[in-house]
Each structure stands twice: as C-alpha cells, then as structure tokens.
C-alpha cells in the first residue's frame, strides 16, 4: 500500500500513531512492511491456504461475532443434500463435468432447490462470459425463503459445512504450505480476531496481488468470509477494500468498456441466455428473488432509452434488437490470440499499452503485427505504437517493417487537465475535474474522438436501410456538442444520471426509474450524481468544514453512500453495536434510519419488518436483511450460486507451481480458463515432470516511482531518474546458488520468453521452507519497455495466458522461472535459448496442461453426484 498508494497510506500511519496494529503479508519485504508492526512473508500463490487457516482458527475457537453472523450472514442456512465437498472428492466439489471442465452447480445450492438446477453447460457459458463481473444476482436464482438452523448444529448448515471444509487448514498446514512460521500465523489470527467485534473493527486492504491469479476471485471471497465471520462488514473501520491502481479503473467497470458488461453491471446480451428482451431481463432480476435487482427492468429500459431515445419504444423492446450478442469469450486475451490467427481487422488502443502492460507481451505484439489497422491514442509514443519498428520481435526477426502490414494511426490524446469529466476513485467516489487549459496541436480527448468518429460513421450510413445500421442511426448522438466541436462532459454526465422523460427533469435516485420507457439513465447506479440538477461530483466543500465522513465532497455510488451495506453497522433491532462504532441506526421516534452516512436500506423500513408470505423483490427484504443486493439478503459465507470454481475458497496451486498441492490430489483450479497453444505454453507444474527446469517462483508488481507500463512515468525525467533500470530482486541465498552479482545482469526464463534485468541482491527477499524443501522467490517490477527515457525488458513477456474462470483476469502475480547470471542472448539466438529450456522441460508445441489431477474414480464420483442429487430432489 505504501508502495503503490502512498497518499492512501497516510491513514495507516495515522491509525498507527493512534495505537492501531499494522500487519503486512507479502512475498517480499516492501515499503509497507517497513512501517508495519509485523511483517509476514508468504509464498506467492498460497494466500487461500493462509486465509483458510484464519477461518479455521475463527471457527475452531468460536471467535466469530455470533450475533452478527446469525443475523446478517447465511451461516444458519441449509445446503443441498447432494453437496459434496473437496474433502470428499480429493479437491473437487460435486458436479464436475470432465468434458466441459466446469461444474454443474445444482448441488451447491440451498436445501430444497435441487429441482431448480442449472441448465446444462450454463456454468461453462458463465465462465466464457466472465459472469463474475456482473450483478450480484448472476447465476442460478436464490429463493427468498431458505430452511435455517439457528442453533448452527445441523451438519448441513453453512456454518458446519464451512467448518468441515477448513478443518484441515491448521497452523501446521499453513506453515508447510505458505512458509509462514506458526508463531507468526497465530499472531495474525490473534490480532485479527481480538480487534474485531462489538467495540472494534478491522479493515482488510488488498490489491491486484490478490486478484491476478487463476483463483483470484476466491482470494477475495476468502477475505470476505473472514470479515463476515468477525462482523467487520458494513461497519466503520471495517470492510474489504480493493486498492485500485488507475485513476478511474472503478469507473471503467461501473460504466464498462468490457465485453461482457453494460453500464451498471447489466450483462451484455448473450445469443442463447438472452435471446429475447424478456429472457435478458429475467436473467437479471430472477423473478421470485429478493433485493433491488428485482427492479432490473427499470434499469435496463432506462439504459436503452439513453442509448436510443425516442426510437426505443415498448413495441420494439426499447431497441433490444439492435444490441449485439455474445457467443462466448471475447475477452482481451481471446482477442489477442484471434489477432495472431488473423481474425481481427482493426484495433483501438485508448491510453493502454498492452505490448508492455498485458500478460504475454510477445503474443500481444505478434497479434498487433497481424492487423489491418491499429489506432493508438496516447500522450506519449508507447511501445504498442512502435512494435513494428523497434520492438523485441524486430530484434529476433519475427517482425520486420517490410513484411508487417499493420497500418498504424497515432492520435495524440488530451491530458487530464485538458478536458473535463469524472474519475471514479477506489471507494466508488466520483470526482469532477475542471478543464485547466486547451489541448495543444492535434491532441484531443476521447470524448472528442468518439463523438466525431460516431458523427462520421452516422453521416456515411445516413441513407442506409440495412437493419444492421439502424442501431447506429437511432443513437441519440447530436446533442453532445452545444458549441464548438468539443462534446460537453456535463451533458454526457447528465445523460448517465438520467431523466424523467415526461417532465424533462434530472432524476435524483434510481428508485425513480420506470420500466415503461418514461425514464432514461445511462448507468443506474450513477443516478443521483446530478441530483437536484447539480453536478454532485463537483462538490468540494473543504474537509475542515464538514464531519469525518465528508459527504459533501464528490459523490459516491450508489445514492451517495460512503460505506456499503451500512445497515449492518446496527444490530438486528437497529441499535448501534456499540457507541464507539455507531454509524447508521434506526430512529424509532422519527420512524427512519439515520446516522452519519446515507443509510443503505429503505429509509422508513423498520428493523422489525417481516415480509408477507410470497413476497418478492424489494418487498421481500426483511428489516434485518442488511445485504440488500443479495438474493437472500444475507452476506455469503458460502456462495450457493454465481461462482464458477466452487462455493467456498479452496487452496489450489497456481497454474505454474513446482509444489505438489499438499491438501488435495487436485493440483490447480480445475475450472481455470486456459488457452493451450504452441504460442502460449505453460511451464510444467506438479505432478508433471521437469518442474525443476523452471525452479523458482516469481512475482511482479509496481514500484512507487513508476506507473503501470511506464507510459506516464518512464517518459518523465523526474520519475525515470528515481528508478532508472529494470531489475530483479533476489535473496543472498539465491544469488549464491546461481552466481548472481549485485548490480550485475540476470536472465529470467519461462516457456514464453527470456528477459534480462540488473540484479538487486537484498535481504528483503528470503527463501521459504515449503514442505521439506527450500523455495526461492524472486521479484520483478513490470514497468519497463523499449520506449521512453529509460528502457528495459518487460516482465510481462515472461507471463503466459491463464485466467481466473469467474472474471477472466490473468494469473500474473505468480509463475515459475529460471534465473541465470549474465545477459540474455539477442536476435535469433534468443528464440533458440528459450526453446532449449522448453526442450529440457518436455514442452512440445502441442503440450496440454492437465486440468484435473485426481483419479478417475473421484472424477466419476463428482460427476455422479449431480445425477444422484437430482434423484434426491425428486424423491
């Protein structure tokens, strides 16, 4: 956190001055560790084992916040009888389909749901379309009423299921698997549990060190389970906080430029799942389910009204027919492989530098070299614009300017001070930026570029009667430029906020949205950002003139709530859990929820409210259902729906690991998204042979002094001088083992490529003892490429494409490699050098990584569980 978010870290320093204990868990000792009370080294890729150990500690010592757990989580709910755990199936859950490498999740659901199972192959489709990024209600529906056992004794209740699942995650196992000494591990458990409860809360902060794994989503789930068990969710000083790494990366998923999402986490239509408008709507709102997603039709229709205006009518399903359809995985990595295969003609890069910043740099560059045309919009000349001229493949002869057909347009972009607009920062807060100066020369904003591109396309197609062009022609588009030629950011933000189309007034809340076409709104969760006709994101009341929640600075979605699910900061009766931690509470005299924040609950629904029989949607949310977006109103210790790879986080080894999974026969995530191709080979992983060819564990991350792929830092002298060269951090022990000299050169090799880096021998890196062997870890920053004031090899060239199945994020935080002293070969010799390692590792071009490593009987048992459960359900 101190490394990548120094200004955010000021609050950790402040908390520490006030007596808070700071614990830092990281494979290497960083600037954050330097200020922490306790530093805990851990093997990269083993965090679920660590967190599972904490869960086991909490459950076996009954350290959970029982009142909170009973009221606000699904601990008491009963799980389907057919459910089989990884304990029973050597690391698989019930329902594994060997063919599709995906689960039928029918048996993961709550009791009594067996006959409402998943459609065949649905889980596979969900993986292809990264449905984990969608709204909370993706996946099979959840019934409003689930059988419970409030004594938590029933062996099928979530609490007991969880307890059994994690029983083997003991301190001894954590030590053997993560390399964390038991004493240290117990120190963390003790600190975490003793600092949680009525009077105290603990915050959990993570970043892409957790997400960029083949089990990335389950890492976060594991953290969330702990925070729910300890009652740290929805309360001040608690929570699970993603420290996001780019100015508006949160905004980029809220108002996504992602293939599988529409604004507000609505799914992009899928040709089968969402063939018709009503199927699309029902897939989101799940009729019969609890919660605010029940109003999905209002959100979806309002979006279509914002897109197509008057042309969107009830008769034409509000223009749903003009929307394009997904057929599967169209993610950025799928695209790159398709580019290599010549399937894609044109590519827009908008402030993005995949030649350095995306996994498998060589594949990225080879893909771009095989396009018809490429548009690069950036502030500086970046590697992704010059791959044809002086990229690494030009050196190896794989790309030559004479044979590379890609036409490249470099379009200079406007900087953040040369345009107006909002960024959404890491806590969902929108902040408006004023324009300071006009952009110089040909520099233009994306708003300008896309407005005018759209204008040109519409002009060219103006006379078309082809059905395919009608969506484009019916777009509301001409109103963005009231004067001059620059679109107005305010007009766009107002469109995002949405209007009452009958009165022409801006909406103040998404609860005003209607499914009948009388409202518009480009992103329902952002509705209210223009409440009362005022740009709320531009609010800048000085912090010294308001209270500690600072609600008059910017605007946070949804509905300006600063802490999500804050109903949980009060007990089931609506009283604060403690005076010290009071935040939002029920004022029985006024008959409403009140407090420091906007209550994340219907304002006048009393704690005692119980829904009538058969209620659905918002009406079905009980007065103590704090988690109002969940289908059952509860925080999920166990996910009965929506996750591809299991209802509970389970330790799987990374896709590349020399360590055999000590907990289960199943080595790695059996549902991970893989692309086995000759140009995307994966290093051998246990139990495969030859793991010793790539014997070391590597991880990559950022330095304080640089930003991502370096496009905004390696071009600046004042940042370049602070970290001028690509380097690798190694322990003294590894340096001795491989003959590496401090400040000398090292070559790092994987099945994809070999790069060179200067050597930094440091005590901050230490080998760990895993099982009975010493495991060396090395660390690399990933900021360098071949353009800029300071240049160097790109760490991402080492990384292959293996993805998390829920959201299709790449596993780039852990892999295996070899490290050799000296510089790498150049030219064609580099290719031969990398090949020589592949040969030794037995990686033929058609090498397939084993997805399952359990015996056939287990596979059969897991698959069979599906059939037997259906019978159970019927009986």
């Amino acid at each position: 956190m101190a490394e990548a978010h120094p200004v955010g870290f000021q609050y950790v320093v402040e908390a520490k001055k006030r007596g808070a204990k700071v614990i830092h868990i990281d494979p290497r000792f960083t600037r954050t560790s330097a200020l922490a009370h306790s530093y805990v080294p851990v093997r990269a890729g083993a965090d679920i084992a660590f967190l599972g150990g904490v869960i086991n500690y909490i459950l076996s010592h009954e350290k959970d916040f029982r009142e909170y757990v009973l009221a606000y989580t699904n601990a008491a709910m009963l799980v389907h009888e057919g459910f089989q755990d990884t304990e029973d199936l050597a690391g698989l859950f019930s329902g594994y389909d060997e063919e599709l490498k995906a689960y039928d999740q029918s048996t993961w659901q709550y009791a009594g749901q067996g006959d409402e199972g998943q459609e065949e192959g649905a889980s596979h489709v969900d993986r292809e379309t990264a449905s984990g990024l969608e709204q909370e209600s993706h996946g099979p529906p959840i019934p409003a009423d689930v059988p419970r056992d409030d004594t938590l004794q029933d062996p099928r209740c979530v609490y007991q299921v969880l307890k059994r699942h994690y029983a083997r995650y003991t301190p001894e196992v954590v030590e053997r698997l993560c390399g964390v000494p038991q004493e240290k591990f117990l120190e963390v458990c003790e600190a975490w549990t003793s600092n949680s409860g009525r009077e105290k809360t603990t915050a959990l902060v993570y970043s892409v060190g957790w997400t960029q794994h083949s089990v990335g989503v389950q890492y976060i789930r594991a953290g969330a389970i702990i925070q729910l068990l300890l009652g740290n969710m929805g309360r001040p000083g608690g929570g699970v906080m993603a420290l996001r790494g780019h100015a508006s990366i949160q905004g980029s998923t809220d108002i996504p430029t992602l293939f599988n999402l529409l604004p507000g986490y609505l799914p992009m239509p899928h040709h089968e799942q969402h063939e018709t408008f009503s199927k699309w709507i029902d897939a989101i709102r799940h009729p019969g389910q609890k919660g605010f997603w029940a109003n999905a039709e209002s959100y979806a229709v309002s979006l279509l009204k914002s897109y197509f205006g008057d042309a969107a009518t009830k008769d034409n399903d509000f223009g749903y027919g003009w929307m394009p359809r997904l057929t599967g995985d169209h993610g950025t990595y799928r695209q790159v492989l398709d580019m290599i295969d010549g399937k894609i003609k044109g590519y827009f890069l908008l402030g993005q530098n995949p030649a350095v910043g995306s996994a498998h740099g060589r594949a990225q560059r080879l893909g771009m070299a095989n396009l018809d045309w490429l548009v690069v919009r950036d502030l500086f000349m970046i590697e992704s614009a010059t791959f044809w001229k002086d990229g690494p493949e030009v050196a190896t002869g794989e790309i030559t300017p004479e044979t590379c057909k890609t036409e490249v347009f470099f379009m200079p972009a406007a900087s953040h001070v040369e345009k107006e607009g909002t960024f959404t920062q890491t806590q969902r807060m929108l902040q408006w930026r004023e324009k300071a100066v006009e952009p110089a020369g040909d520099c233009r904003s994306e708003l300008w570029f896309f407005y005018h591109l759209g204008r040109l396309l519409r002009e060219r197609l103006a006379d078309s009667t082809l059905p395919r062009d009608q969506g484009l022609l019916n777009l509301t588009w001409d109103h963005y430029v009231p004067e001059g030629d620059e679109p107005s950011g305010e007009i766009v933000l107002q469109e995002i906020n949405g209007y009452n189309l009958e009165t022409g007034k801006l909406l103040s809340s998404f609860t005003e949205m209607k499914p009948d076409g009388s409202t518009s709104g480009g992103c329902w969760i952002y509705t209210g950002v223009y409440k009362d006709g005022v740009n709320q994101a531009a609010r800048r009341k000085p912090r010294t003139e308001q209270d500690w929640v600072a609600r008059e600075w910017g605007w946070a979605w949804p509905a300006d709530r600063r802490t999500l699910y804050n109903r949980a900061s009060a007990d089931p009766e609506g009283k604060p859990w403690s005076e010290k931690k009071k935040y939002v509470w029920w004022d029985s005299d006024a008959g409403e929820w009140t407090g420091y924040d906007v209550p994340d609950f219907e304002k006048t629904k009393p704690p005692s409210y119980r829904p009538p029989e058969g209620a659905t949607g918002v009406e079905a949310i009980s007065g103590d259902d704090a988690f109002i977006m969940q289908g059952d109103g509860k925080g999920w210790l166990y996910a009965p729906s929506g996750l591809i790879d299991g209802p509970m986080p389970t330790h799987y080894e990374p896709a590349e690991s020399g360590v055999r999974n000590p907990l289960y026969d199943q080595q790695a995530n059996p549902t991970r998204k893989i692309y086995d191709r000759s140009d995307n080979l994966t290093n051998p992983s246990a139990p495969e042979a030859h793991t010793d060819v790539y014997p070391y564990v590597f991880s990559t991350s950022r330095l304080t002094e640089h930003h991502t792929a370096g496009g905004m830092s390696r071009q600046l002298a004042y940042l370049s001088e602070l970290q001028p060269e690509m380097f690798i951090e190694v322990s003294p022990q590894l340096a001795a083992e491989r003959g590496l000299e401090h400040l000398g050169w090292a070559t790092i090799v994987t099945a994809r490529s070999a790069i060179e880096a200067r050597v930094m021998v440091t005590d901050r890196m230490r080998p760990l003892r895993i099982e009975d062997r010493l495991v060396h870890q090395v660390w690399l920053p990933y900021h360098w490429g071949h353009e800029g004031l300071v240049t160097g090899d790109a760490a991402n060239d080492l990384i292959g494409i293996t993805l998390d199945p829920n959201v299709l994020i790449q596993e780039s935080k852990v892999g295996t490699c070899d490290v050799r002293a000296g510089r790498r070969p150049t030219g064609a010799e580099l290719t031969a050098y990398v090949q020589s390692f592949r040969d030794r590792a037995g990686l033929a071009p058609d090498h397939k990584q084993p997805m399952t490593t359990v015996d056939q009987a287990t596979l059969d048992a897991s698959g069979a569980a599906d059939g037997s459960s259906d019978e159970d359900g019927d009986s």
């Binding site: 200004v7 100015a247 990366i249 905004g251 108002i255 430029t257 293939f259 529409l262 604004p263 992009m268 040709h271 359809r325 997904l326 169209h330 950025t332 398709d338 399937k343 894609i344 003609k345 044109g346 827009f348 908008l350 402030g351 996994a359 500086f380 044809w388 001229k389 004479e402 890609t406 200079p412 900087s415 001070v417 920062q425 890491t426 004023e434 300071a436 006009e438 020369g441 040909d442 520099c443 708003l447 896309f450 407005y451 591109l453 040109l456 396309l457 395919r468 766009v492 469109e495 995002i496 800048r540 009341k541 912090r543 910017g554 905004m712 830092s713 071009q715 600046l716 004042y718 790449q810």
Partner: protein
C-alpha cells in the same frame, strides 16, 4: 534611477550603513530575491482537478498562467488526500507539459519503415472508412440456429483506466450500436 537609489543598490553601502554589518543577511539580499513571489500566487486561474495516476483520487490544483500550466500541487481541501501527493502525482506538471508528448498525428502506412505526418481530419476520415470496411467484412447477422447476433468480431478495443466515465460511456455506446462487442479495458487486466 536616482543617484540615491543607485547607491543604495550597492550591498556594501547597505552593509556599512544598515543593520547587517557582516553583510550576511539583509544587506546581501539581491533585488531579485527581494521581489520573489510564488508563481501560484500570480496565476491567472486555478482548476480543481484529480490526480491521473492511481485510484486513491487525490485532489489537485492546476495553476495556469498565460494559457500554460505552471504548477500542479495537492488540494488541501480534499478529505481524501489532504493536499498530499506521491512522487507520480507530484510529477503531474511534467506529465502534461513535457516536450516529449506527441502533439501531431502520426501515420505508419502498411509495410512502412517510418512515421509520416497526417492531418487530423484526414486521419479521422481514414479511420471511419476502415471501421466501416472491417464491420462490413466481418458482419454476423445470426447464429447457426437463426438467433440474432447482430455484430462484428472484426474490431477490437482496449481502453486504459485513466479515461473519464463520460468517455467510457460514449465509447461503449458507440461500439455497442455499431455491433462491436470486443471492447475491453485495463479493468480486466
């Protein structure tokens, strides 16, 4: 300049006649030093902005003089950052004023060995032509079972996460309406 002023301009005169006989302070202060003032104080305008690097969302004040950015520093009013900035945020002025920034459209023709300059409007027209051609060439009306697809897989886009919400909104709106689905962002990476 009067003779008196001229003589008083001599540090030695000031040293011998003033309160600083050792000539290490007041007497040694040059006219330039005396007239120094912070350029933030003399700026023509100040824009309230937000740092473009990580997602903490630190407040920035952008000081402008004669149409040029002369300083960017932390906004002390911000409850997020309290006026502080990290090294990257502190380098924001270099980021926006750097002479290494590209300010001209550049074009590399197929099989070309170097960049050529291109007029902005021409480039826009050329890009529009290519988008329509790629779309035409790869258009899919329906799947094998006749279900609508209404899309092109011939066009891809990858956006950075330093784009504004308004920009992302327009990008998604336009691409979706033209049938391009392969629209991605750093948020996946």
């Amino acid at each position: 300049m009067g003779v008196k002023t001229w003589i008083e301009g001599w540090p030695v005169y000031r040293q011998l006649t003033g309160t600083d006989p050792l000539g290490r302070g007041a007497a040694a202060q040059s006219a330039r030093s005396k007239s120094l003032t912070a350029r933030t104080e003399t700026a023509d305008s100040v824009a309230k902005s937000v740092c473009p690097y990580c997602a903490v969302g630190c407040g920035q004040r952008v000081f402008v003089k004669d149409g040029e950015v002369v300083q960017i520093e932390g906004d002390p009013d911000s409850p997020i950052s309290k006026g502080r900035l990290c090294p990257k945020g502190s380098a924001s002025k270099s980021l926006v004023t750097s002479d290494r920034r590209q300010r001209k459209v550049l074009y590399r023709r197929p099989y070309g060995k170097d960049w050529e300059e291109l007029d902005l409007d021409t480039a826009m027209e050329m890009i529009a032509d290519r988008v329509l051609a790629a779309r035409e060439e790869t258009w899919e009306d329906a799947d094998a079972d006749g279900r609508p697809l209404n899309r092109t897989l011939g066009i891809s886009s990858l956006g950075g996460a330093t784009l504004d919400n308004e920009e992302n909104y327009l990008i998604k709106k336009l691409f979706t309406a033209m049938g391009a689905v392969q629209i991605e962002n750093q948020a996946r990476i």
